[in-house]
Amino acid sequence: MNREQKIIAFCCNWCSYAAADLAGISRLQYPGSIRIIRVMCSGMVHPEMVLHALEQGAAGVMILGCHLGECHYIKGNEMALARSEVIADTLEDLGYASEQFQLTWISSAEPERLVEAFRTMSGRLAVLQSEQPADR
């Protein structure tokens, strides 16, 4: 694992943040590059927050919300879903890789799924970094 690499994970208060809590209690291991930021809903993560994280040097950004249909605020995660396609496409336009962004649904009872998502993301970014041409 690259010690410099940082991954910002926006976790929904009602599901994935609770899952991260449970992962901690269950002593599940996940990469140390993950930095969790608790948000009240995945739908409140504006694309500019994702871009800002990348501009500040994050290797990747994840948004983790409730499964579709289970949003605490009824439709917040649907908003996140609509935005996520825009984010992935626009990142390419702005000179980043769409792989640097990931949206995943995690319920509060799925710490394993959360840890798996963290691992996959970390691995994917490591591959991306090794493929990066040296001059950029």
Binding site: E48, L51, E55, R83, V86, E92, L94, G95, A97
Partner: protein, 306 residues
Amino acid sequence: MQPKLSFEWLHACSGCEIALLNGGEQLLDLLGQVEIVHFPLLMDHKYGGQQGEGAPLSLPEADIGLVSGGVAHTEHLLVLQEMRKQCRTLIALGTCATYGGIPAMRNEWSTADTLRTVFTAGTGDNDPVMPLAPAFLDRVYSIDEKIKVDVSLPGCPPQPQLIGAVIKALINKETLQLPQKSVCETCPTIREGEKKMAPVRRFLHNADYDCDQPVSEMRCLLEQGLVCMGPVTAGGCGGKDTPLCLRARVPCRGCYGPVRSGGNQLLDMMNALASNGIDYRAIVDRKSLLRFSGAHGLLKPARKKN
């Protein structure tokens, strides 16, 4: 003693200078209130040192400095730093100075690419046309990336009345509230709500309107399916009246830059469209939404794919 005014241009087209001169009677008032010490568009003024005497670059001291244009090469940078040193208050005038503007569209490619495709002699070899020209920087910068700016006044060009008002406020040491809302704020077109949006189409056909009726009888262009950048663009182009492009019944092109400084017009526009359930992929050349705000590292060469 009258305050001294200095007006320098960098990577710009002189449109901002002409906007100031276009102010009508307010210009006459202004000329009586300031002493212009440096203004390359209007008066000949040597930067010094060409004959080997004195400092290689020196500009006169001034109370109010206006700078139009972004920073593209080493000479721009030197002139800009000298301006900052000599001017008590420095105004970034125009979208090139505040957000990079049109010249910053070259940030979409690397400097090497630009030199190769644009600035070669066309003889097949890669010799630049102007071997003695100052070296390009790695990209086009807005001036606030290089020096401290006291007032940012975007626009392509900024509204003449607003330029005059800002200079006057500085002379009289008053504070002035600059417009902070989007173009839509003063747009009188009819909005029927997001449910009735038409699919995005290119501006190859006119918008639907009755030319005998005022703009306030026209349907919002974005709701007609034309990519109007009004929602993500700072307002002020038409003063308190209808925005200028809308007066001509064409969609806003985004020339005043993002509503908030630090905003990203491309991302905000895509987000606004997607949140309203519009197929943003129908926009063919999305990157061009940053046509006026490519500095601050927003426009970058595409990532090399393996």
